[in-house]
């Protein structure tokens, strides 16, 4: 059975392969960047507000910190209680151009032993979970130079 590939959140990321990017917004008045995207109002207290325009975030960044989840998280995280829990990594990544830190899951197979603060990582498309009809897609961080 073929499932529809659907982003877990609409308009937070787009593209395939090397052109995959996280999508934020930029205020046309003060140039502040927002991720997750802010489409309603600029949150800079010194800005009277401008149009918020979609912008692709940097593809690469450096690890600010990282951890993992050794216990099954509660709902609404989707996981099959029948299957043994497989820990995933969480990586907080500092984007130099945007001067912001963005959290994401590590790509499958990346464990905390593979990570170091300051290491370069890149954003790659990933799968969060699947149900009957839908493959829910997401973003993953993966150390640069690792292709697994």
């Amino acid at each position: 059975m073929s499932r529809t590939r659907t982003p877990v959140v609409a308009d937070w990321f787009a593209g395939e392969g090397k052109s995959f990017r996280l999508l934020g917004t930029r205020c046309s008045a003060c140039t502040c960047v927002f991720f997750p995207r802010e489409d309603r109002f600029c949150r800079n207290p010194g800005c009277e507000g401008g149009a918020l325009v979609e912008v692709a975030l940097s593809r690469r960044g450096r690890v600010w910190s990282y951890t993992d989840g050794r216990y099954r998280p509660p709902a609404p995280y989707a996981s099959d209680p029948e299957l043994p829990w497989e820990p995933y990594t969480l990586i907080a990544v500092e984007l130099e151009a945007e001067r912001m830190v963005v959290l994401g899951q590590g790509a499958p197979g990346v464990s905390v032993r593979d990570l170091e603060v300051g290491m370069e990582v890149e954003v790659v498309p990933g799968v969060l979970d699947e149900d009957g009809e839908t493959t829910w897609t997401t973003w993953h961080w993966r150390p640069v130079g690792v292709s697994a």
Binding site: M100, V102, L103
Partner: protein
């Protein structure tokens, strides 16, 4: 000082997993605080409840829920929700009423019967709720954020797992002396190291549990305290309830990203540091005046962070301050003499009130085996979700 209010009474329901409702715990704590103050409930002009989040209304209207349980007597009422900072903001609301002359005596109550395991968002699909999103998209629990902070400290300041474990050893030793604490057993560094990893690098014994519990305070105007025969009560001199300054650059619960600092330069210092700074400024004191502190040790690593954010030591010196013994019993500035959340666990709306209870008993010289000799100034610190954080300064 004209901005002060008196702490006439403090009370708690012991913390644990008791299997009863939060109202019962709150009423026990409230009655204890009223008895401690020597104030009849019918003479209380206002009640402020720190909310617990429940399906159904009573938890969301905690002030009236406790008032009904104690017996309706017509008092002014308020209910306050600010996640982990709920208790401190309930104190802030009570203090503001007293200083504005709206009430002479105010009862503040926080109580919870916590669910088992990880805190989780309420049910239903809410894709515009950041707290729902971090679970749905990332599976990021509260301990995951504590793990990120801990790993960051290891990388930036050279903290070690042994440093973190020593925080637990210290707080467990304090909690063993406190009859209100849930865990009353000494813990060794070896036991911390042998406990299961929850969120790398933190282990089960690095992270606080969820608990049932309650705490209450009776606050009054200084004039009422004098008339009531309390010539030299513990006084609350400051309650800070500041929000962050844009752009916030430290990844914070429950956010998926920080603000961008590309267009606006960040202010000096972090949000957490600004919470304490505002309290010190309002109280007209500095960190050098502090006799003891109660801080939110949601994780062992986070306690070290608070030492720095409260100005008890320079940035990056938290582990050194701990190893020097400054924050232990008998040290220069003991921290979490109550045993902290490490020994109590989290009962969200109660814990910031419980911190002020401990400071009150310490400043009265009534803390028994945990007493800090000659305590004159106590400070508390907590942080809730979504830009809530509070600090209370009490003096004697």
């Amino acid at each position: 000082m004209s901005g002060e209010v008196a702490v006439l009474g403090a009370g708690m329901h012991p913390w644990g997993k008791w299997g009863r409702g939060f109202v019962e715990y709150g009423v026990v704590a409230a009655r204890e605080a009223l008895a401690d103050a020597g104030v009849d409930w019918r003479d209380v002009g206002s009640i402020v409840g720190a909310d617990t989040v429940r399906g159904g209304y009573p938890g969301f209207v905690a002030g009236a829920t406790f008032a009904r349980a104690l017996g309706w007597q017509g008092a002014r009422v308020a209910s306050v929700y600010a996640a982990c900072a709920s208790g401190a903001q309930a104190i802030a609301a009570a203090r503001a009423q007293i200083l504005a002359g709206l009430a002479d005596v105010v009862l503040v109550v926080g109580a919870d019967a916590a669910p088992k395991g990880f805190f989780r968002p309420a049910g239903g699909d809410r894709p515009d709720d950041p707290d729902w999103l971090r679970f749905r998209v990332l599976g990021a629990t509260n301990p995951a954020y504590f793990g990120l902070y801990a790993r960051r400290r290891m990388a930036v300041h050279g903290d070690t797992l042994e440093d973190f474990a020593q925080v637990k050893v210290k707080n467990a030793a304090a909690g063993a002396l406190n009859t209100n604490a849930r865990y009353r057993k000494a813990v060794t560094a070896e036991e911390v190291a042998a406990s299961a990893v929850v969120a790398d690098p933190l282990r089960l014994l690095d992270i606080c549990a969820t608990s049932d519990g309650a705490a209450a305070l009776v606050l009054s105007s200084m004039e009422f305290a004098r008339r009531h025969g309390a010539a030299d009560p513990v006084r609350i001199r400051a309650v800070s309830t500041v929000t962050p300054t844009y752009p916030t650059t430290v990844l914070d619960l429950p956010d998926i990203a920080t603000d961008s600092a590309s267009a606006v330069a960040p202010a000096d210092g972090t949000f957490r540091a600004s919470i304490a700074r505002a309290a010190y400024e309002e109280a007209g004191i500095g960190p050098e005046d502090v006799s003891l502190a109660e801080v939110y040790d949601l994780s062992t690593a986070l306690e070290l962070q608070w030492y720095e954010d409260l100005g008890l030591c320079a940035e990056g010196e938290g582990a050194k301050l701990l190893h020097d013994g400054a924050t232990s019993a008998g040290g220069r500035v003991p921290v979490n003499t109550s045993g902290g959340l490490a020994s109590f666990g989290e009962a969200v709306p109660a814990q910031a009130i419980a911190q002020v209870c401990e400071i009150t008993w310490q400043l009265r010289g009534a803390a028994g085996a945990r007493q800090v000799a000659g305590a004159r100034v106590g400070v508390t610190a907590n942080q809730g979700l979504f830009g809530h954080g509070s600090s209370v300064v009490a003096v004697r």
